[in-house]
């Protein structure tokens, strides 16, 4: 049973990790805590649901399209909120507030449109499970882990193998120096939000398949935020590590301590970790950034 709980924990943690990385890259480049990430998570699930249900598109195609929409919406959010604030030289706290407002606005619109109902995709993404001795791993979990790993590999390919990736990394070290070298900050920031939105969209579309589609799905962004804090805000590897850790802590405390106070245990442990290591577990990695 312990092995099964471990599998459960990794399956949950890998979802948190995927969401946390999208959250971490924006922080990495801009030093901004971006809660509008929650809006892209919710949109990732709802667009896949709307496209597959009302336009009757195949589910896989709907999910791909919804990820694209989430990415574009994320870039749009940057354009209409962060961009003007940045041009006016406003402190970043304003963007923090704006991002939280956008998140709540999108959630409110989704509640209105969906009449607050819980629903699900017209069909299951993938049926069946893999059985090894007493341990059962749903095929969906394996697929999701695969997609999560592929997405993260693709992200690092973009960051390390492309010109824009190089520009993003330059900005994350020193945006002023990067600007002096002729790097266009608007393009870099827009691309970063697009990437974050794509990751949020992938996370949302998969969460919709794994659990269900409901308006508060975007609240997962708070788990992503905690995962980043534990792992070391801004560190991509730390975010993955933090996501897995929170997933495991939640699962183990649910299973072996008491599920009703599991959130208290999880957050209590987070406080302890932050007291002992305020820079996060992967604190060293923060220094080298990406």
């Amino acid at each position: 049973m312990f092995v099964q709980q471990l599998v459960n924990g990794i399956s949950l943690g890998s979802m948190y990790a995927l969401l946390a990385v999208g959250f971490a890259i924006v922080y990495n480049i801009l030093g901004i805590v971006n809660f509008s990430h929650g809006a892209t998570i919710a949109l990732g699930a709802y667009c896949a649901y709307w496209l597959s249900t009302y336009l009757r598109l195949p589910l896989e195609l709907s999910m791909v399209l919804s990820v694209t929409i989430a990415g574009l919406v994320s870039a749009l959010i940057e354009r209409i909120t962060l961009h003007p604030l940045r041009r006016k030289g406003q402190p970043q706290i304003f963007f923090f507030i704006a991002s939280l407002t956008v998140f709540n606005l999108v959630t409110a619109i989704i509640i209105y449109v969906s009449k607050a109902n819980i629903t699900s995709y017209p069909r299951t993404l993938i049926y069946g499970s893999i059985r090894m001795a007493n341990v059962i791993v749903p095929k969906l979990d394996v697929l999701m882990l695969g997609i999560a790993v592929l997405s993260l590999l693709a992200l690092s390919a973009v960051l390390y193998k492309t010109k824009i990736g190089l520009a993003i990394r330059c900005c994350s070290y020193d945006s002023r120096a990067a600007q002096l070298m002729g790097i266009n900050p608007d393009l870099v920031i827009g691309t970063t939000f697009l990437l974050a939105g794509l990751l949020g969209g992938i996370g949302g579309a998969l969460l919709g398949a794994k659990y269900a589609v409901y308006p508060e799905l975007g609240d997962m962004v708070y788990r992503a935020f905690f995962a980043c804090m534990v792992g070391g805000l801004g560190s991509l590897t730390g975010a993955i590590f933090g996501g897995l850790l929170i997933g495991l802590i939640e699962t183990i405390s649910n299973a072996y301590i008491n599920a009703a106070i599991s959130p208290a245990i999880t957050f209590g442990l987070l406080v302890v970790i932050l007291l002992v290591r305020p820079q996060g577990i992967a604190g060293k990695l923060v220094e080298d950034k990406i």
Partner: protein, 386 residues
Amino acid sequence: MKRFAVILAILLVAFGSIAHANEPIVIGFITALTGSTSLWGTQEANGAMLRAEEINAAGGVLGRPLKLIVYDHKGSPQEGVLAYRRLVDEDKAVAVLGTHFSNISLAIAPVAEQKKVPVLGQAVEPKVTIPAPGKLNKYHFLAQPSCIEQGQMMARFAFEELGARKAAVLADKSNSYSISQAEHFAEYFKRRGGEVTDFVEYAAGTVDYRAHLTQIKAGSPEVIFLPQYAQPGGMQVKQAKELGIEATFLGSNSLSDPPFVAAAGGAENVAGLYFLFNVNWSEPKFEAFINNYEAKYGEKPVTYHSLFGYDDVTLICEAIKNAGAAEPEAIRTAIEGLTDVPIMLGDGKFTMDAETHRTRNMPSWIMQWNEAGEIVPVQLVYPPAD
């Protein structure tokens, strides 16, 4: 002069009583007309207004017409209390109907004790009428089986009809609807000689139940009781199926909502699940109600809450008739004595228990979801007497 005064007085009294005879009896109704549960509330209000219209067409109560005033509690206890005060202080209601929300009824109950205008509602939380052992709220009454009875009825069905001896329970610690049913299910099941392999509580807002379900699975129960709302219930069933759990699922009346099936991942996942339900729509006695409802509102009743409203008005009119006067105190006493009143829900008869201010021996239906995503009636069950 003296004689003139006497005649004037007689005339005034006579005129007064004529005016009184035509004056409508004001009944308040508090329900959710906006917010996420407005569908239930609108259905409830529609049912109540339909019944009031029928009663007025048949001559009203005590020769006076009935005037139903409906206020919105918006899902909030504060708004519920405000609505009750307004009905009593401004509208001079002699009785108030609603709500079916335990937390709102809990907030109204102490105010009703002060204002002394009786409330008849549908909440399932027994604390609404009995706030502490040995203490009874004199002015509050409930017309739906309590969550104690609902948990016990399901436990008895599992033990006697399904022959289950090992059961597990998964309940939301922060929701009295969920945890109360769970506790009384487990308590009754054990009392009959069954074993509760796991009693797992979770915190509200949980999305991933694999840890809880893996623990439950290890105890290999024959039945798993899920007293939940549609959203968590659906997610739990879906994840349980993914983990290969083959036990029979038992649920509460909220698992009748269609969104439950969607959240559970489709009809094939919920097929075979039993749940407790207040009404069996396929009974012929509902035909007239459904037709009249459709004639008035242009659509068929969507949820059983329409019958809550309909029955509430029937019960309060019966109480006023028995009281012989449209006075709050007399109505309160009459509600306590309601016996075998013909209603729509349960087995069609309603008796108030004067000691608990809840229904006495009101049955519920056990229903089952089938592979086609339809609800099939299984049997009518009564609360256990033991």
